[in-house]
Each structure stands twice: as C-alpha cells, then as structure tokens.
Amino acid sequence: MSTTDQVAANVPAAELNTYLFIAAVLFVCGIVCMATKRNAIGVLMGVELVLNGANLNFVAFARFTRLGLDGQVVSLFVIVLAAAEAAIALAIALNFYNNHLTIDVDRADELKG
C-alpha cells in the first residue's frame, strides 16, 4: 500500500464516503420534497436541497480526488445559478398567486390540452 503511505501525511478527518452519504441523503430528500409537496414554494425548497447535495458532492470530490479546485469553481457556479433560479421561480409563484389566489401546484393545470 504505497498510496496510503504517500497520503498518510494529510489523513482526512472523514472519508469521501461520509460526504457522499450526506449528499445522497440531501439529494433524495430534495427529490421526495419535490414530488410530495403541493405548495409551489415547497417544491422550490426541494430543488434547493437537490442543488445543495450536488454541490456537496462537487466540493468533496475537489478535496479527495484529482479534480482539484475545478470542483469548487463548479460549485460556485451552482450557487449563483440557484440564486437566479430561486428569484425567477418566486416571481412566477407570485404571479400565479396573484392570478389564482393559491399556490397549489395541482391547480396549475390550465395549460393541459
């Protein structure tokens, strides 16, 4: 095990699999949140959880693999795009609320053919 001897100088406190586990739980919680919530803002929170889990994966791979700093750059892009997405989705939700007096996504079926 020469590789373990080489990286023994900077032994990580927790292994990559720990972060992968946390990120997977965040991702699945976001998916379930998107699927079950009928409130449009609840669905938006599920999207935020999914993006956050993916972000945690990117940063963990940046630390523990040869991906290097590029993973952190991608996670910064994800954070900015999540902010933009939240702004535009909230504007749409407010418009929908002004027109329908509810943000139940099950009632947003007027475009159905």
């Binding site: 959880l49 972000n55 910064l76 892009f77």
Partner: protein, 232 residues
C-alpha cells in the same frame, strides 16, 4: 438592581469581564479551525436531520426554517473540506440571500383559503418507498467505486503569495481560475496555458443580471389599466 450592575461595570470589575472574555475565547476555540474529527459528523448529522425535517413538516414556514439549518450545516461541511471561499459564499448567498427571498415568498403567499396544503398519506408513503429505493441505488453505486485510485497526488503546488491550507488557500487560486489562469502556470517554463473559467464567469454574470431584471419585471405591482376601447 440594574443600576447597581451598571455601576459595577462602570467601576470596572476586571475579573468578571476577563472571565467572560475567557469563556468566549474557549467557546470559539472549541468550534474553530481546524475542525476536529467529530465536528464533521455533527454537522453532517445536522444537515441530514434538517433535510428530513424539511420533507416531513407540513408548514411552509417551518420548512424554510429547517432548510436554513440544513444549508448552514452544509456550509460548515464546506469549511471542513478546506473550501473556505465556497463555504463563505454558501453562507452569504444561500443562507443570507436565497433563503430570505424564499421566506418573503412564503410570507407573500401564505394567506388565503389554502394556507395548509397537504399531500395525501398514501402519496407520502409511496414517495418514501421510492425515495428509499433511490437512496439505495445511489449509495450502492457510490460505495462500489474504489475512490482511492483517484486520490490526489500528495505534492501540492503552492507558490509564493498563496497561503497554507490551514489559513484557507483557495481564495486566490479561485480568483485566478475565474480570470482564466492557473496558478501552476506561474513561473513554469512551458508556454502552455490551462483553460480557465473567464467565459463561463462572464456568461453567468450576464445571466444573473438578465434573470434579476426579468424577475423584477414579472413580480412588479400591476397598475390598474384604463379599460381598453375596442377600435372597431
């Protein structure tokens, strides 16, 4: 009572104040850099538990609260991964910006006849089963990979002007990446340039500007229009 306390503080009781400062310093010391081994698990458990609470709770305001805690714990995990700039950006933009936006959305829409919108219990059970299956698939595929093969090479190129990892070494390198340069290219004899992220950075910044203008246009207060007269 308060007056006597204030008088005591005015008269300067150095013992009390020093004791308080010492307590504060010890508390800061306990949670500060470098992260102890257990801190990662504490924040990881906090992120996971708060994410599950977001799914389980039915009230939108409580969901927002649990989401704040989950995102903040994830930011702490970023710090533990030596990603200090990303952790700070997570706390500033996500927790400080996006979540405030979400809470404003909750407050602007949480009135009216549909305050509590609940899913049916059968749907929750079905979603839980599907979610556990998805979690099993993701975890089994993640564990089956041997990540040690992709471990980073031990020698890290840290040039002059770049801090040590203990002080947070990512900010300057991230800035150079966004400017389209790679710190490893400095002083190297080869005339090759690593690809940077200048173009994606510009695209994202213009995208953010356009999206914010569009959001302000969509969510603006509608003026009462004069009734349109049919020209025919």
């Amino acid at each position: 009572m308060i007056w006597t306390l204030g008088a005591a503080a005015e008269a300067g009781e150095p013992g009390l104040w020093a004791k308080f400062l010492g307590l504060l310093a010890s508390v800061v010391d306990a949670v500060a850099w470098p992260f102890h081994e257990g801190t990662v698990y504490v924040f990881g458990a906090m992120a996971v538990a708060c994410a599950i609470a977001v799914v389980v709770s039915q009230n939108v305001v409580r969901m927002a609260f649990w989401l704040i805690l989950s995102l903040a714990a994830t930011g702490a995990l970023f710090f533990s991964l030596n990603a200090d700039f990303v952790g700070a950006a997570q706390l500033l933009i996500y927790v400080g910006g996006t979540l405030v936006l979400l809470i404003f959305g909750v407050m602007l829409t949480a009135s009216g006849p549909f305050l509590q919108i609940k899913a049916k219990p059968g749907e929750m059970v079905l979603a839980g089963v599907v979610g556990m299956a998805l979690l099993g698939v993701i975890l089994s595929s993640a564990i089956s990979v041997d990540w040690d093969k992709h471990a980073p090479s031990p020698e890290k190129a840290v040039g002059i002007g770049f801090n040590s990892p203990a002080e947070g070494n990512t900010t300057r390198e991230l800035g150079m990446k966004f400017l389209g340069a790679n710190p490893k290219d400095i002083g190297s004899q080869k005339a090759t340039l690593s690809p940077g992220y200048l173009l994606p950075f510009e695209i994202v910044s213009v995208h953010l500007l356009v999206v914010l203008i569009g959001a302000a246009y969509l969510a603006r207060a509608k003026r009462q229009k004069a009734p349109v007269v049919d020209p025919t």
